[in-house]
Subunit: 347 residues, 3 copies
């Protein structure tokens, strides 16, 4: 962790705390500061997770990375669930999925493609990723299609059951891709390098980083309602575009960096892997978490959200299925992201 | 045909007849007995068809197998059509399609994949099967999309025309896959072995088996209404899950057996071939049969049914398009089947 | 340009003018004559464009061909936009897309496949075409999904923005396929042969042909309303089937001719390329053109039209993604065209 990052991390976190507790800054300023702080603390959490994963050994480490890679989003969302802001939670889940599939992947393919004429990645992994993305869309689409004919109670039951099935499917996928079919699916690994810290420091930093993400998330969520009203933005747009872009800033830079190093396989793994994790793990876990807070968040997404997730998966699958990428495929993904962004902004 | 099977066949058929005609058993008992009887007589009909097909020579035999492979389902459905129970007919067509694509195929890939790391089948056949499944979904989806703006009379006309077109497409497909492009599409053939009976006996057994299926179907259908009410099950769930699983029991065991012998191509042919046959041949034939009974059954399926068929085809196509299978792909299919099962049960 | 064609061109154009200005012919006769004239003048315009493109050099020529290949449809549509007949414009856009993807491509594969057992084309181009067709469907589907929750003003804004994005994407596609990745995507080129005319004559003929198309289109459009009422046809059916078939007559014959010469790659390029151009260039340009006439045509297509375009793209993509074609794949496309034709006729 270089010096600049440390200073940025501490400064933005402290400023954000001051703004929140003293209340001297306007909601807008609070919002901006906590956005900046989120980017830093999410980056810090990512590094700490990676470092702990390194010491945990390959298999458990892979699991940790895969499961806590979106810890920041998960924590932000838990605070939103606690406050009963289910709509904004679903919007931010939607935004994370489409942000990873369209913006992160699109920028990676585009910027990587400007440097290299064609880039290649493991076609078998692409095919499995495609099928898993398809499962994710189906799992979100079926409850929505049936919800109109169900009572609230039945919808809750359906949501909890689907959530459990998805978590089971996700754990089996980890077992499949990390144990039984590890070699078939391996690609250029995401470069982790040597960890910067000792084992003890890594665990300590993981705990500290998690706490920092938790606090900053709470402060950010606190400003959302004011911001949304003040600028006349819909919750849908704020959740699906603003929060999602902020929460995924770390993935953005990592994936693009990989693509520019001609490691497009690693970039795809970050972008697609992350969106799969959100859909198949984070979303269902949030449904189960909401049970603990006493009011079940159902898994029924709005038509707009389903359209956004559906078209993102369709275009990403169409582009990635041949295992070859180029700059124009990045353009296609970014074009769809723009169209969705405009539609969400206007609605 | 081994001794145990013969005894089971005769015993279950006689018991089912007794239960129906004497009326001493409750509806539930009648239902259970005739379910068991259906499994046996469907198996008997399958064997008799295979045996006659053997003597008919390769080409006509292939045609017989392909066209009468789902004779049991067809006969059950004709009795339902005669009684005007169109909703349950459509539900059982839906159930047959998704049962074959998700449950039969899913179990085959899963159990085959536990034994063999990767299994392969003809990728060209997979691609054609995928396009045909796509046609099936389109042919069911278009009438449903237009039906709201059509009168009943126009919907009937549309249904009859679409039915004729689908039957023509199916016959051309048989011609294509069995005559003009036989070699390109051949895979490990489904093992038939030597027929157990002489030519005359085979024909006689085919007639007897058909009659037995017809009777048992009528008895089973007779109990459905009572059962549905008694257990508070929806017609949709009974048709799409109970009847479909019972009617396809023979395919289930055959496909799984093939997969365990590493003949995954044959398992896919049974599962996918069967669902194609239901969608492109059985369903349209039932529309035309309903004309004979004086009241046209239209081809407009409910939203739930279309969702179920649509997502089944999408996930099956996504999984089968690379011609390679493994246990996790089986899990994906079974997961979608579970989600649909829960949704249909609750609705 | 052979003698027969010249005579047909002049005769049909003069007759059509007479019928329109003297008014002695009934609307039906006027309609039939101008349909015939359209086929000739569209063919003339196509040849003139090709000839000018030849002199313009490879790159600019390719651009001209790609951009003005559908000039006839564009001109017809502009006259319809001027008269505010937005519904029939959208119907004819729909019809052009599905006509090219299903009828032109279907006939080419079918008739080519009767002569050659298997025909092959560049699988990389097929994959890119598939992704672009997917983008086209998404770009039409998203505004329709969101339009219900938008005001007319917001829908207009969304339409204009989406139109600009699509035109940008289309221009980048031309740059990609003609400059940066020309060699990867090249296939058997569409045969153009030596131009029949000198450079000056070519430019003169291009201007004359454009004017002739413009006049004939206006005469044809003038008869539409009468025809529609007289035969009880819906605008949807007239626009999506009659006008589309007439406007694409030149592509039909060219593509089928290529397929019969075993140049299936060229046939696919004509059919798929043409439908992409309609969706990604002609349709958005018409939205911008409508701005000039003072009343914005939005980009929101009806459910029926979206269903038709959606299923066409899905089946065409499913069939073309392996780069191999045969007669039965042609049948599948034609079957879907028939089903859609019947549904549009009845609705």
């Amino acid at each position: 962790m270089n010096r600049m990052f440390s200073i940025g991390l501490i400064a933005s976190f402290v400023l954000s705390a001051l703004a929140h507790y003293t209340g001297i800054a306007s909601a807008t300023v609070q919002f901006i500061i906590s956005c900046i702080a989120i980017v830093f603390v999410a980056g810090f959490l990512g590094k700490a997770t990676e470092s702990v994963a390194h010491y945990a050994g390959e298999r458990l480490g892979g699991f940790l990375n895969a499961t806590f890679g979106n810890a920041a989003e998960l924590i932000i969302a838990i605070f939103l669930v606690k406050d009963g802001m289910f709509d904004i939670v679903k919007a931010s889940i939607t935004g994370s999925i489409i942000g990873n599939l369209l913006l992160v992947l699109g920028l990676s393919l585009f910027l990587g493609g400007l440097k290299y004429k064609e880039q290649h990645f493991n076609v078998k992994l692409a095919s499995h990723n495609g099928s898993l993305m398809t499962l994710a869309v189906i799992a979100l689409f079926v409850p929505a299609a049936f919800a109109k004919s169900l009572t609230n109670f039945e919808t809750s039951n359906l949501s909890v059951l689907v959530a459990c099935i998805l978590i089971a499917a996700y754990l089996l996928w980890l077992y499949f891709s990390m144990v039984t079919h590890k070699n078939e699916l391996s690609d250029e690994a995401v470069e982790h390098g040597e960890p910067a810290w000792s084992k003890k420091a890594s665990i300590l930093f993981l705990i500290i980083a998690t706490a920092m993400v938790a606090f900053t998330s709470e402060w950010l969520v606190g400003t959302l309602e004011t911001i949304t009203h003040q600028f006349g933005l819909s919750e849908l747009f704020v959740g699906a575009f603003l929060i999602a872009i902020i929460g995924n800033a770390a993935e953005h830079s990592a994936a693009v960096m990989m693509a520019r190093k001609n490691k497009i396989g690693a970039a795809v793994e970050i972008a697609v892997g992350s969106s799969l994790q959100i859909a198949l793990f984070v979303a269902p876990v949030l449904v189960l978490v909401s049970l603990l807070f006493g009011k079940t968040m159902n898994i029924v997404f709005s038509t707009f959200e389903l359209v956004a997730i559906g078209v993102s998966v369709i275009i990403a699958k169409s582009i990635s299925q041949d295992g070859t990428t180029n700059w124009y495929e990045g353009v296609l993904l970014l074009v769809v992201y723009c169209i969705l962004g405009i539609a969400f902004f206007l609605v």
